[in-house]
């Protein structure tokens, strides 16, 4: 056998092994590089349901979870774990970095021992190589801020985004070609928090590059369009004059196409939050629209949690306000949002005010706004994520002009923050119909009941939190994965968007690293070892990452059974 032929056979064998491994683990190969935030494309969703849809479909019955000290799975399999040095995680992000799968985890505030350095470090950003999901390798921990006056209340580095220099525009002229950049929040709620950029080209040796903005009082979840460089940073500042109820945050938009040289574009928020709003006399924009009104049900409106941009093709940015109460969801025209303080050019506003970028008028804020919808004040908008053009299986013929009907959806969740459910309303998630985006309207509720599982008695938080933000095409428009604190990762089949069906879950077992949650119930104070799934996220192989807010680490999962089948083309099921 010639060496060339041997090489071809070996190569073929390697491919077969990879396919076999992918098939066995439930992961499916598909590149996510073309989709937001890395590119402007949106996956096309095909109808894989029968013409009856999910209505009365004979789904596998959901099994009750096991005892509170046990791991519970349904249609999911554990592939790997990492303890994240016992640090509580807020948000994980998995990036295919030149063929290596790197997990970046934004951690909540606190401190823990870093075994790599032997030093107890303030919780910051964990960097873990998860190329081999069965043997994750902890590469580096970038520390967070030091405590202030002995308190960690202002510390942590909860949010992460990563862009490759080759995807950022003008790579050759800016020198970003071949490099990788991490954008992270630095600090939480002190008086001098910031957003930073690190060079993570070598994820085992990250280097601080620059501070985008400092002097902030509240940071939160950012978004970074890698193909344009536009970043939407969430923060507040005691000195900039913006007004919010509850979480004091609005949006700072930057051009980070050259991450070493951030360029400020503008600040943005909901009408009624701008510094010039006269809060004492403002009326509701719903009942008394005028030149000084506020959107939503509270004056001034609640702060934004985390914008999601769907890039240049769709030209929309989704802004959830309120987190867990007084919620508003806003849809914005991206081009008008980014360029709305210019008086000419694409998206420019000929009537933009002189101080539009920092102290906008109400008219400046209205320029990019497509629509907004007010939630029940018991709920806030924590996360939002669109899914475009989901076929409605039972409406493929005979409606409208006889053509197949589809719906564009906006997932919205409200964050539950109470332990043991006490003191607040239930926090659920919803699918909004945004097919007519000037009139968004709720289509379905995604709910996890407290029984079976007795989640209100289990300790810790019970309720919705966040949805996946990575676009993995085989899952896009087929399933939706939501973190539900002590009820774990919850997955719905949304192929019939009018009838979403629970199809999988994973509840992590507590271990010796789990931070106890304590409550006084009926006069008795007890502490529970309860995990809290804070975020769930996908990588570009289809693995699902469950991050624990209670310090129990990361679990890497794959889909099995009916859940996996829901993500496959009809011909492969």
């Amino acid at each position: 056998m010639s060496s060339n032929r041997l090489a071809r056979v070996a190569s073929g064998f390697a491919v077969c092994v990879l396919i076999a491994i992918a098939s066995r683990t439930g992961a499916q190969s598909s590149s996510a590089a073309a989709y937001p935030p890395y590119g402007p494309s949106i996956p096309v969703i095909t109808n894989t349901e029968g013409d009856k849809g999910a209505y009365n479909r004979d789904l596998e019955r959901e099994p009750p979870p096991g005892p509170w000290d046990s791991e519970s799975l349904w249609n999911m399999r554990v592939e790997g774990r990492d303890d994240n040095q016992a640090r509580p995680i807020y948000q994980p992000l998995i990036v295919n970095q030149n063929g290596r799968e790197i997990l970046y985890a934004g951690n909540l505030a606190g401190t823990a021992l870093n075994p790599l350095t032997g030093v107890s470090e303030s919780n910051g950003t964990s960097i873990i190589d998860v190329s081999n999901v069965r043997r994750p390798k902890f590469l580096f921990h970038i520390p967070g801020p030091a405590p202030i006056a002995g308190s960690y209340a202002a510390a942590g580095a909860q949010m992460v985004r990563v862009c490759g220099g080759n995807t950022l525009p003008n790579a050759s002229s800016t020198g970003t070609a071949g490099r990788w950049y991490l954008l992270r929040a630095f600090g939480n709620a002190g008086a001098n928090e910031s957003h930073q950029v690190w060079d993570v080209t070598d994820p085992a040796q990250p280097k601080m590059l620059t501070t985008v903005i400092s002097g902030l009082s509240n940071t939160h979840k950012s978004w970074w369009e890698c193909d344009t460089g536009i970043a939407y940073l969430v923060a507040g500042s005691k000195s900039d004059g913006w007004q919010q109820s509850g979480s004091a945050q609005h949006v700072y938009i930057y051009d980070l196409s050259n991450p070493a040289k951030p360029v400020f574009i503008r600040q943005f928020g909901l009408v009624g939050q701008q510094p010039s709003a006269d809060v004492s006399s403002a009326k509701s924009c719903l009942t008394a629209p005028g030149e000084n009104c506020y959107e939503g049900v509270t004056n001034p409106p609640a702060g934004v949690h985390g914008p999601i941009s769907m890039g240049t093709t769709v030209n929309r940015v989704y802004m959830p306000y309120g987190v867990g109460a007084q919620g508003v969801v806003q849809i914005d025209d991206r081009l008008k949002l980014v360029n709305g303080c210019k008086r000419s050019g694409p998206g420019g506003n000929p009537s933009a005010s002189l101080n539009c970028a920092t102290r906008p008028t109400q008219a400046d804020l209205l320029w990019p706004q497509v629509s907004w919808i007010t939630m029940n004040p018991e709920n806030g908008a924590h996360s939002s994520m669109p899914v475009y053009n989901v076929p409605v299986p039972e409406e493929q013929t005979n409606f409208v002009d006889g053509t197949p009907q589809s719906k564009s959806l906006l997932f919205v969740s409200s964050e539950g923050t109470a332990n043991n459910c006490f003191g607040q309303a239930p926090h659920d998630a919803w699918l909004l119909d945004i097919s007519s985006e000037t009139t968004p309207w709720p289509m379905a509720t995604l709910n996890v009941p407290q029984f079976p599982g007795d989640f209100c008695g289990k300790g810790a938080r019970f309720g919705a939190h966040a949805v996946t933000e990575a676009i993995y095409p085989p899952y896009y428009g087929k399933i939706i994965s939501v973190s539900w604190f002590n009820a774990g990762v919850r997955i719905w089949d949304i192929r019939d968007p009018k009838n979403p069906k629970p199809i999988a879950y994973y509840i992590q077992a507590p271990n010796q690293n789990t931070i106890a949650s304590c409550s006084t119930i009926n006069g008795v104070t007890k502490c529970f070892n309860a995990t809290m799934n804070d975020y769930v996220e996908y990588d570009d192989r289809g693995y699902i990452y469950a991050a624990d807010r209670a310090g129990t680490g990361i679990t890497i999962l794959s889909l099995t059974g009916e859940a996996r089948a829901a993500t496959l083309p009809a011909s492969e099921r």
Binding site: S70, Y90, A154, A189, S247, N419, P510, C518, N522
Partner: protein, 129 residues
């Protein structure tokens, strides 16, 4: 074979050393001096040293009503097994709750805790359990 045995012995002694470092014997008399509602962070540190881990759960720096602002965990061992000494502080830096939590509680049932009188009266939770 001799080399293998030497390596195994070295590995065992290393893991024992690590275990001893990670799981010290907490002094029961010192723990008893921590009074919810009175003892500060500095007081706890002077009694027990630096904690194994500190955590602050809150998104925006403010604890929801009835929840800790900051938690300190110490690892310990006793005859019945390993545990975490869990101490919660309020936003003034005063201990509000202390509990000795076994690493594994069968069934996940909770563990009794001692809470500051002010926090106890502030809780009006009543549930069908």
């Amino acid at each position: 074979m001799k080399t293998k045995l030497t390596m195994m012995a070295a590995a065992l002694s290393l893991s024992a050393a690590t275990f001893a470092h990670d799981v010290p014997q907490l002094n029961a008399a010192m723990i008893a001096k921590i009074k919810p509602g009175a003892t500060t962070k500095a007081g706890v540190q002077s009694l027990l040293g630096s904690p194994w881990r500190i955590a602050q759960f809150n998104d925006c720096g403010h604890a929801p009503p009835g929840q800790a602002d900051e938690t300190w965990d110490y690892r310990g061992t006793e005859a019945s097994g390993s545990y975490r000494l869990h101490i919660e502080f309020d936003d003034r830096g005063v201990a509000r709750l202390i509990a000795k939590i076994p690493d594994h509680v069968p069934g996940g049932a909770g563990t009794a805790a001692t809470i500051a009188p002010a926090d106890r009266s502030g809780e009006k939770m009543a549930m069908k359990m």
